[in-house]
């Protein structure tokens, strides 16, 4: 891998560095696409062991990043994402071992059917090719995302944040050793080792060399990628998730689901941010819920009708309906019923995950059909929107796009299907 010191830092120099790196990735794409499952699993298993064995050197590389980040005055949330500790290193290793246990999607043939002409037509699952991951502080992405790409037969180009450069370099060195030991090309996991924002702009336009870009990070990063990319992107915008308690809800279920969706974890994208309650049921459900939230330390901000029922709630404004708090804060709005709830979600939501609580079949069917989000739920907590909970085994992110992959993206989302046709000398008349 080219090292920073040797790189021409001009615009043209950066562009040719990134292009060379992606060409090297492309050059091994066919090798990776046809690599046997056992070989890929062997590389992953070696990597998991290697992460455990090199725990101390990973921790000391990470300590350099952490010290630099603290010196720069980065905020506590950023420092938390950046930090590695023995538990997090063990969980990186375990995560890789879980991916070893998943079925290899490559080569699976679905729906092979005989057509009237006599040909058999089916679809074979194949890797996408070269996937670029653009991410921020979290060094564990260097292990997790690369593992998913490797298992699905893709080549990956990793462009991590400058904050975690030492950690990423240390993990990258372990990857190269693991690939080599398993007999796979080291170029299958490429790390961009230049700290320069222009790298991203070049990556986003390398059509023909990069098959997919996945940004993993805050809204700013994702918007930048979406605005500049001419290569395909799977993006995860924010999660402004709703629970709607319908007139026909069971009170116990409504309270359980609404409480869990907000409080089980605050900082995740599938956490409820706004609670919608039908006016007919609001007096029977909101006061009880408000007490539970208060006891848990959740700040409430409501519409006027909410505040009539929950006097201690602050006043919510337009901005609250739009906000992904990622914090113990909840917006509450009383609505006239299903129609207004769906309209609110359509207007303010982020198409991530939204749930209805109801015992009424027609309301449930309508909510499922009409709410245009990557996950739509009936009588279940939004916190279930997750690759593990859905049975994908692991996820590289949650797509709020509509094309290709929507919702949690696992191994299957990193592949595509080509048509295969089997004949016996068949020709078209």
């Amino acid at each position: 891998m080219p090292q920073k010191a040797s790189i021409d830092q001009s615009e043209a120099g950066i562009a040719s560095y990134v292009e060379a790196l992606c060409r090297a990735a492309r050059a091994v794409a066919r090798t990776m696409a046809t690599a046997p499952t056992a070989t890929k699993d062997r590389a992953l298993t070696i990597m998991a062991e290697s992460i455990r064995r090199h725990r101390d050197s990973l921790l000391s590389a990470n300590a350099k990043d952490f010290a630099a980040a603290r010196a720069l005055g980065l905020d506590a949330a950023m420092l938390d994402r950046l930090e590695l500790n023995p538990a997090r290193i063990e969980s990186m290793a375990l995560g890789i071992e879980q991916i070893v246990a998943l079925a290899d999607p490559v080569g699976a043939i679905d729906e092979l059917r005989t057509r009237p002409s006599g040909i058999q037509v089916g679809r074979m699952r194949v890797p996408l090719g070269v996937i670029a991951i653009i991410y921020e502080a979290r060094p564990n992405v260097t292990a997790d995302a690369a593992s998913l790409c490797l298992k699905s037969g893709n080549v990956v180009v990793l462009r991590g944040g400058s904050e975690s450069i030492h950690s990423n370099r240390a993990i990258g060195a372990l990857w190269r050793a693991a690939l080599a030991e398993a007999g796979l090309p080291e170029a299958a996991i490429q790390m961009v080792d230049v700290i320069d924002r222009r790298v991203v702009e070049v990556l986003l336009r390398l059509r023909g060399l990069v098959d997919l870009v996945i940004p993993r990070g805050g809204k700013g990063l994702v918007e930048l990628v979406a605005n500049k990319a001419t290569v395909p992107v799977i993006k995860h915008l924010h999660g402004n998730c709703h629970v709607y308690i319908d007139d026909h809800a069971d009170i116990d279920k409504a309270v359980r689901v609404a409480f869990n969706a907000k409080t089980q974890r605050y900082g995740t994208c599938n956490t409820m941010e706004t609670l919608l309650v039908a006016e007919g049921i609001a007096p029977r459900v909101l006061p009880a819920l408000a007490t539970m939230y208060r006891n848990k330390g959740v700040e409430l901000r409501g519409c006027a009708r909410t505040r009539n029922l929950v006097p201690e709630a602050g006043a919510a404004d337009e901005e609250d309906w739009e906000t992904e708090y990622l914090a113990p804060v909840l917006a509450i709005r009383v609505v006239s019923g299903l129609e207004e709830a769906i309209a609110h979600i359509e207007h303010y939501g982020s198409h991530h995950t939204d749930a209805i609580v109801t015992e009424d079949l027609s309301s449930a069917r309508r909510f499922l059909r009409e709410v245009d989000s990557s996950s739509v739920m009936v009588n279940a907590s939004t916190r279930f929107a997750d690759g593990f909970e859905y049975g994908l085994g692991a996820e590289i992110g949650i797509s709020t796009d509509k094309l290709h992959a929507r919702g949690p993206v696992g191994l299957e989302g990193l592949t595509s299907q080509k048509y295969i046709v089997l004949g016996d000398g068949h020709i078209r008349e």
Copy 2:
């Protein structure tokens, strides 16, 4: 629909016209997404009848376009694409009736499974939303593409070529009447009625209003769209398709398939453009094939080894390997075997459709797995790569992209799947 005369032709005027049109489209997206199958089918049936009833006025509108195109000196191929005649009008009507007969993909729920947590997780098929089709001369696209979008619950924005403006306006008027008669919003099929290249540039960047752009036309149009679009695109680049006759081919099948793939129709994207032949079998297959091609009037251009076996063939150069002739011309190359054939296809092909003729199972499996094209075939003519032949019923194009839809794109390719979760008050522990 705004008419040309009333539009401010400045850059800002064009942008606001296109944006208003797409906002009007977006405004009816939910109505179309939830429209009953019977209502959508009714609109389509009315449209098919209306096309037949208004045959003469469609022909006279088309005659205006045709006269203008001839006056401008457009080439014969363009004039052919532009022309409507009674047979083509009947085939537009029949095409729409075939789409009525297809199953509605919207709302289908697949793979509903119970997870260890007790929730049921499945996937529901839903429309994409607003689809923009950017096309050139062919006025039949105004009928075909809109029908597929309507049946799949999408709203469509049609931007046809200036050559076919009168034809498109006439078909557009029939659409509005058919939608209104069926009780659907007229805005569900929008036609851009301004002849200005800047329209496309605006359309390609309307993220949030346009969910997908499908360019249908020549390489220049598709490249323009791919280079400028920040909204998702399904594109159909050219079809530089190959047949590889393996050492282990059955001679009769090889001759049948190679002859049919080239000569059944010359102008289609799934027509073979380069024939690759293993050196071990070339002397037994090439002379016979050359005679058949000669009798059919196909010009042959070959590598040196081909010309040793087929003296009348011209010399092929690099450009021939890259060319989609769409004409009775064929490039022929003798290769050492499977490895070289796959490498040639990887280097020169367009990832559209490629076939192997072989009786050897290992060669067939390897070709299927390693050739990275939207359709990969064994012992069958490349001409089968087609939505009707594959059982999709109809196609809006053939995608040479890898994401979302690959190969022939039918109703399913115009939809996406969202996750649905059914619980009974389930919460995450």
